[in-house]
């Protein structure tokens, strides 16, 4: 018996599904990509920093020129003049604050000298800074007059530490004496006694 031809299109064996494995990423391509990006970043950064450097240099040049213009606008001569005036005003303040008026000593002496006493020698000096010494020689009609004069000077705020020494009777019967005192320089300040310090006439120049 003739073997029947099997004409079925249906394969006997089940069809093998040949599934190709999903193509995995090419590692080389990935590396290329990453290194490409790194290179690109490097190139962009290079261009950026180059431009930024140029920009900064230009900005500095502009600011330097601007500073130079400002320096010129200051007019050094004007600044010097202002600075000199400031120094003059400050020096003037300092000197006027310590300016002394010897008239205060004479005013006090005239006010306190008794009619029975006279002075015939006067010396005013500043032997050391801040210490003003007054030395005089005088005559009095009696010892009592000297004592009264001493008492009168002790009341003075200008003439301090009054000392009478070498008190002797002279050939005429009058009493000779030496007098020494310390002048309180704070009491002889110009401002303390005059309300118009610079109103002094320009005629009294110096």
């Amino acid at each position: 018996m003739q073997e029947r031809v099997k004409t079925s299109f249906i394969p006997k064996a089940s069809l093998k599904i040949e599934r190709r494995a999903a193509p995995k990423g090419d590692p080389i391509a990935l590396v290329n990509l990453i290194t490409g990006v790194v290179l690109l970043v490097a190139v962009v950064a290079s261009v950026g920093i180059f431009l930024f450097e140029r920009f900064t240099i230009q900005a500095i040049a502009n600011k330097e020129a601007s500073l130079e213009r400002s320096r010129g606008a200051f007019e050094p001569a004007t600044i010097k003049e202002l600075s000199r005036l400031d120094a003059r005003i400050e020096a003037g303040k300092t000197l006027l604050a310590g300016h002394t008026a010897l008239s205060a000593v004479f005013d006090d002496l005239e006010k306190r000298t008794l009619s029975s006493v006279r002075f015939n020698n006067f010396s005013y000096s500043i032997p050391s800074p801040g210490r003003v010494v007054l030395t005089m020689k005088g005559q009095a009609t009696s010892f009592n007059a000297v004592a009264l004069q001493s008492e009168e000077f002790s009341k003075s705020s200008v003439i301090t530490d009054p000392i009478f020494s070498n008190v002797n009777i002279n050939a005429n019967g009058a009493i000779d004496f030496d007098f020494t005192a310390v002048v309180d320089s704070a009491r002889t300040r110009y401002f303390a006694q005059s309300a118009q310090p610079l109103s002094a006439p320009d005629t009294t120049t110096p």
Binding site: I28, V31, N32, T35, G36, V38, L39, A42, V43, A45, S46, I49, F50, F52, E53, T56, I57, A59, I60, K63, E64, L67, S70, R71, F74, T78, I79, L82, R84, L85, R88, I89, A91, G92, T94, L95, H99, T100, L102, S103, F106, N120, N121, F122, S123, Y124, S125, I126, P129, Y190, S194, P197, L198, S199, A200, P201, D202, T204, T205, P206
Partner: protein, 180 residues
């Protein structure tokens, strides 16, 4: 061979970084610091300009006559010849003449034992002279001296009386001028 390209990329990137970017970054940092200093200087300059304008406005508000008086109060130089002439003119008002003028340096700092630079903005000198006159006349002269525009301080005075009433006064005055 496949790795040639990425290696080349990396080498180029590295070369760019170490050969250009890094040194440039260091330079840019220095430049930025320099720029910051300029900014600071410009700000200060603007502030100073404002202060200068204010001071200039105040300076211009001073009457010229007052500025001249200030210059006479403390001159720029000792100008002792002018001072002597002025003293003589002042004494002449009371019929006195200035004589025996001498000048000596101010020794106060030496006496104080001061060392180092003198920080005072002015210099001083002591000028001694003699005048003759009555007590009342001298008192008037002394008052003028105290009130004179050129600042002088009487630092010494001595005289002896006599029967004639005309005394010789030896006066020491300290006068000042602004340091250069």
């Amino acid at each position: 061979m496949k790795l040639f390209t990425p290696v080349l990329f990396l080498v180029l990137a590295g070369a760019l970084f170490w050969g250009f970017i890094d040194p440039s970054y260091v330079r840019v940092k220095d430049l930025r610091a320099q720029e910051a200093e300029f900014d600071q200087a410009l700000n200060r300059s603007r502030e100073l300009q404002s202060v200068r304008d204010q001071l200039l406005a105040r300076y211009n508000a001073f009457p010229q006559s007052n500025l001249q008086r200030l210059e006479r109060l403390i001159p720029d130089h000792i100008d002792n010849v002018r001072l002597i002439l002025d003293l003589d003119a002042m004494a002449s008002k009371y019929g006195m003449r200035v004589r025996n003028v001498s000048i000596q340096a101010d020794q106060s700092r030496v006496q104080q034992g001061a060392l180092g630079g003198d920080e005072k903005p002015f210099e001083s000198v002591i000028l001694s002279f003699t005048v003759s006159g009555t007590y009342d006349t001298f008192r008037q002269f002394l008052t003028d001296l105290e009130r004179s525009l050129r600042l002088v301080d009487t630092v010494s005075l001595s005289f002896t009386t006599n029967e004639a009433g005309l005394y010789n006064y030896t006066v020491g005055i300290q006068t000042y001028w602004l340091k250069p």
